[in-house]
Symmetry: C2
Subunit: 387 residues, 2 copies
């Protein structure tokens, strides 16, 4: 894991978690934010910063989402931005703010800024341990770190994320931070990030919903001296962003609450890309499919019902439903039910990563989505935790 | 429970279940069918019968859904219709056919017709026991009967339904049969049924999806001599249909797999009826809300997140979130988080029927939806059953 030139990260986790991300030079910045209509105050604020296209740093806290906190919540965001800008020595309109945690609770700003000061003074750096500390600081119910990187030789891209569905009462959120040392204009970054998010983070389903705080940021500081479109092909940069987003999205899906398996659903042969996406999301979000996966049952009927319920165009006489994993591949429906070896199918589904491939048989478009199984632990985690 | 004049019902449950419903005179008929794009053969067939507006009887089987069975599936439907028409002594284009059970399996038509013959010869009638036998015959994973009736004095309406979500592998479906002895034209019945279904059956969520076989039929034989619009006010008839549909829909929600509680969600203060419906469905379908309900946790943050994720217009400064049951009522959010008594809230949520009332604070429209909690048994039932 390589940290892009000119970036420093750090974090600390005590009663609350605080992470800082800083670039020695000004960055172009792009952001994609939740479409939840009850967006948290830091989301409103950071979107505005992104709209101006430049940033120097980020302050993140975990523990308190600062969502549904009204005008006082926005005051708290402004105080966090102001505090971080003083530490960083940069204008406060170049500081991004993110929060994750309990909905309806204001962040303890004084405490957060005190911890931020400690991080800034003694814990910032660009080694793997700093990335890890930043990642740990922003975790809530995550059970594992989520880091991915791409190396372009003389430049690189690093992504760090948190997210495991919404688990504690009033807990939220997926946050992802992508940093790179190439140079790119903000208006060029935004569509690249938007498209990558659309096919990756927006295609994972743990709880099927966008939370109040979901945020993905991409910062490019140009410290490598290389520019996208001149030194780095646009297509390579797009591929790198997409690769890192997909890695992180898969890790979030895998870390779904109580999950034991990662599910990837690929829908092919769709009339349109939109229908392919809708069908893939429908399968990966289906409680019945998710529970069958936990039971390692190749239940193609539930896959078919979910596809049909997504109201996409599909031709039952050319529809195909296939289950596959590193253990093998079994066709369960091919224009009609197919007799298959139940033992072989059970072995395929016993793997930690299972793919369901669905061919709708009516076109050439495709899409993928990621999720996890529905387990006793999911219910336990979400039912038994008491405020 | 009163059976409308001129109707006979009966059923038997052995290796498969077979129910018959017959009117001594020709009925006007209306039907509302699943919008799942992979609709079962009997759905395609019965919709066509309904489009002609007249019917004399229904044959239903449980055990095999006849969905995703291709052209052979349609042959099976035609044979079932033909067999029943011979028993009934009526034209086969006046016989409706419904199936529920395992997706991808053709119904054993010979066996079904043999059982239908037995029902027809010795088990038809219009007593409560016949209604019960019909209901039992069409059950799959249902744990209780679902019957509701309305008496208008000299006329009545009876509804019988099955449905408990999709439970066994490849199992499907909600079926509901409404019969009445008033006279009404088919083109008058259809909008009444459509509107009632929209606000009742289409607002329940056990698995959040419409299955391949969902069907609601309304048959009016005029045997009471009373006509809607002349002897029976249209508004009374509409109210009766809506009442019976709502009762049955609630019973289906209550009978959700593994459920311990019925959840009713009422959304008020919405900008439009469409948004009210979308918000109510979002809350009742949220796994996080459902698991919190099982845990008897007044988790208003999850309700807020689900509302926001439904992308409806909402004003956080006038938003209200209330939990209530026969045990009391607790306001948890009212333009901001409200401190409430956790013990009182837990007592309210310990009831078998819980209501969540959400006021979006931006308009005058409202809607209700019904669902159930998400439990260990849901996962158990859906994960552990093996083909």
């Amino acid at each position: 894991m390589e940290v892009p030139s000119g970036f420093l990260l750090g974090g600390v986790k005590r009663d609350v978690g605080v992470g800082l991300l800083f670039s020695e030079t000004r960055c172009s910045v792009a952001g994609v934010f939740t479409r939840n209509t009850l967006r948290a105050a830091p989301v409103e604020y950071s979107e505005e910063v992104c709209s101006r296209g430049r940033a120097r740093g980020v302050i993140v806290n975990s523990g308190h989402a600062n969502a549904l906190t009204g005008e006082e919540g926005m005051q708290d965001v402004l105080r966090m931005a102001d505090g971080a800008s003083r530490l960083f020595g940069v204008p406060d309109d170049e500081v991004l703010v993110c929060s994750t945690g309990v909905i309806g609770e204001r962040p303890p700003v004084d405490r957060i800024l005190k911890l931020a000061e400690e991080v800034w003074e003694s814990r910032m750096g660009s080694d793997p341990e700093h990335v890890r500390a930043f990642n740990e600081a922003i975790m809530t119910t995550d059970t594992r770190e989520k880091v991915s990187s791409y190396s372009g030789g003389d430049w690189c891209l690093l992504g760090v994320a948190k997210g495991a569905g919404m688990i504690h009462p009033r807990m939220s959120t997926m946050l992802a931070f992508l940093i790179t040392d190439v140079r790119a204009a903000s208006h060029d970054l935004q569509p690249v990030l938007r498209d990558a998010v659309e096919d990756t983070f927006n295609m994972i389903s743990v709880d099927a919903d966008e939370s109040t705080n979901d945020t993905v940021l991409l910062m490019a500081n140009g410290a490598s001296g290389l520019e996208v479109g001149r030194d780095v092909p646009e297509s390579e940069f797009e591929k790198a962003v997409r690769k890192v987003c997909e890695d992180l999205a898969r890790e979030i899906a895998r870390d779904g609450e109580g999950s034991t398996k990662l599910l990837e659903v690929e829908v092919r042969g769709a009339r349109s890309r939109k229908e392919a996406r809708r069908a893939a999301r429908a399968v990966v979000s289906s409680n019945l499919v998710k529970a069958a996966l936990f039971g390692e049952d190749p239940n193609w009927g539930r896959v078919g019902a979910a596809i049909g319920a997504a109201r996409v165009d599909v031709d039952p006489s050319s529809l195909k439903i296939i289950f596959e994993s590193s253990e093998g591949r079994v066709v369960t429906y091919d224009g009609g039910p197919v007799k298959f070896d139940e033992e072989e199918a059970a072995r395929i589904l016993s793997d930690r990563e299972v793919r369901i491939v669905v061919d709708l048989g009516v076109g050439d478009e495709s899409a993928r989505a990621w999720g996890c199984d529905l387990t006793y632990d999911y219910v336990k985690i979400n039912a038994e935790y008491r405020t």
